[in-house]
């Protein structure tokens, strides 16, 4: 991506982000928040008609939603495009698994350690990377994340357990949990097991908290300062702001969000591997945010949900499934369609994602949220036309 493209993307829906700034009332914020919370908690119900109501998938929506909300604080509000955020996801996972191994299977300390560890890590990486802006900043974050990924595979093996990944073991100390029972323990919330739906509800509650915090940040003087930095950093300096600590704070906060998401991955499945830190994972959160709507509160969550949902569907398609879909066609055509569609599904689902992403950037730079905005504007226009 050229610097110019990055710039267009960053500015994508500047128009949509203004009401987010100063005309939205506290009341309408709280109504939206309440609707959001209810929608998140009832995901297993209203998503089941489209086959997405089961715990494995809805908890993914929640986890990646948190990741994307945090990423948007840095990218959408502050205008710094990080290509290395998966590193913080990985650190959060490792910290959480270590908490399970050494302390307790309770998920609360695991989440706290995940957030703290990634926060410290983000402080270090952010301190160095934020000396540059634009494409140079992006490259620095990418380089740091790839370094972390490689270190996790090599010299840090005592901490990360290298290629195998960090797992629970029978002889782990777990000093707070008392004598071990037979077999590997499961994660708990103060004694209640957090696998299946309880695991989802832990993630859902954290998503709701994450959304609320992001909402407060967006409406605060700090959030307005971040948007001003994105708009014109130069002006900020001549206006008396020391922008460095602001950008660093935004970087650390978004790193902590990623750390929370990473620790939740360990909560629902207590293992951590280096592949979580790979650049593809860093790129994915960029896509989620842009697809949903950069700079909006809800957009990143929608983007995360949409990508994870379609990943789930498309990657499950194989030639037999395709054959069944096209079996109303004559055999020659059926084979042709299967051959044509084949590269876009299964392992090739990223190809579909790439195409969709290109279409969004070209036709709807403000993402799904811009689409929703346009549709509701059209509806209210036609309604006022009819009434006049």
């Amino acid at each position: 991506m050229s610097a110019a493209t990055v710039d267009t993307l960053r500015r994508g829906n500047a128009a949509a982000s203004v009401p987010a700034g100063d005309t939205a009332s506290s009341r309408s914020d709280h109504i939206k928040f309440a609707v959001f919370a209810i929608a998140v908690l009832t995901m297993p119900v209203w998503l089941s008609p489209i086959g997405a109501g089961y715990p494995d998938l809805v908890q993914k929506f929640a986890i990646f939603g948190i990741f994307a909300i945090g990423f948007n604080i840095l990218f959408g509000l502050t205008g710094y495009l990080s290509f290395g955020h998966a590193a913080f996801l990985g650190v959060g996972s490792y910290a959480a698994v270590w908490s399970f191994k050494l302390l307790t299977m309770n998920v609360v300390p695991a989440m706290i350690f995940g957030v703290l560890a990634s926060g410290v890590f983000a402080l270090l990486i952010g301190y160095v990377s934020l000396r540059r802006t634009g494409i140079y900043f992006s490259i620095l974050t990418l380089a740091f994340a790839q370094m972390s990924y490689n270190l996790a595979y090599s010299v840090l093996t005592p901490i990360t357990n290298g290629e195998t990944g960090l797992q629970l073991a029978l002889h782990d100390p777990r000093v707070l949990d008392g004598p071990a029972e037979a077999g590997l323990p499961t994660t708990t919330l103060f004694g209640m097991e957090t696998i299946g739906y309880p695991g989802f509800y832990v993630c859902a509650v954290m998503l709701i908290v994450a959304y609320y915090v992001a909402m407060r940040i967006t409406r605060s003087p700090f959030g307005m300062t971040l948007r001003a930095i994105k708009s014109n950093q130069n002006r900020m300096n001549y206006t008396g702001f020391n922008t460095r600590p602001y950008t660093l704070a935004a970087f650390v906060i978004s790193g902590m969000y990623a750390g929370l998401a990473g620790s939740l991955m360990a909560v629902v499945d207590p293992l951590a591997g280096a592949e979580r830190m790979q650049w593809t994972a860093s790129g994915e959160v960029v896509l989620m945010t842009i697809l949903g709507g950069t700079g909006t509160l809800l957009g990143p969550v929608l983007g995360a949900g949409i990508i994870k949902y379609f990943e789930n569907i498309f990657s499950a398609f194989n030639d037999q499934v395709l054959g069944r879909i096209f079996d109303f066609l004559p055999e020659v055509l059926q084979n042709l369609m299967v051959t044509l569609v084949h590269p876009f599904v299964g392992e090739g689902w990223h190809l579909t994602l790439g195409v969709v992403f290109m279409l969004i950037v070209i036709f709807l730079p403000g993402g799904v949220m811009e689409g929703i905005g346009r549709i509701s504007a059209r509806i209210s226009r036609s309604r006022s036309n009819r009434s006049s």
Binding site: R11, D22, S220, T225, K230, S231, N234, R235, Y238, P245
Partner: protein, 251 residues
Amino acid sequence: MAILDVQGVCKDFGGLRALNQVNLQVREGSVHAIIGPNGAGKSTLLNCFVGRLKPDTGSVTFNGKSLLGINPHEINQAGVARVFQTPEIFADLSLIENVKIPAFAKRDGAFRLDLWSRTDSHAEVRDHAEAVLEDVGLADKRHMHAGSLSRGDKRRLELAMCLVQDPKLLLLDEPTAGMSRADTNATIDLLQRIGERGITKIVIEHDMTVVFTLAHTISVMAQGAVIAEGEPEAIKGNPRVQEAYLGGAHL
């Protein structure tokens, strides 16, 4: 007493001597105009005051404190605000936000981590920002996008962003360029009104009506040097000034 004292400032760009031994004393509370043909080095001189450029030699002292080698935000916090030649505003934000931001910088300093209160709960900042927007005649546009304003309105907005900070020294780089006659007169009025508050101002202008209405002192620059300085009447009759302006604006 000079609130700003500039001594022997030189600045080279490659082979070009943009500033050549510039001396300047700006009296506290006065309006000091800098005029001169295009490329004379006027904006470059202002850049040396706000930390955008570092002079090769010389000193810049504000209120007895050197401005060289300190960061732009520290210079602003010390009480220097600037309107740029090409408007520097927050194009993606609303007008009221554009003015609130400098107001927060003035109230809270260069950094404050306030991420939990609501911006609109700071009533005194909002009221102050709205009053200043009213002053510059942009109150009815306060929820518009700053980026969608006309060039003249952007300038007035930038002026509001400076005024809300109640600076000790206000640097104005062509504050009326791109404005209609009516808007120019409104801006002169505004600057005269804030003159009563005792803000020291340095004004770079090509519009001589503005210069001769506002200025107490005029410095004339040409090719990086100050070639004349004095009260408006004296400058009008100065033959060297006439010569520097040959082919340029007429006095």
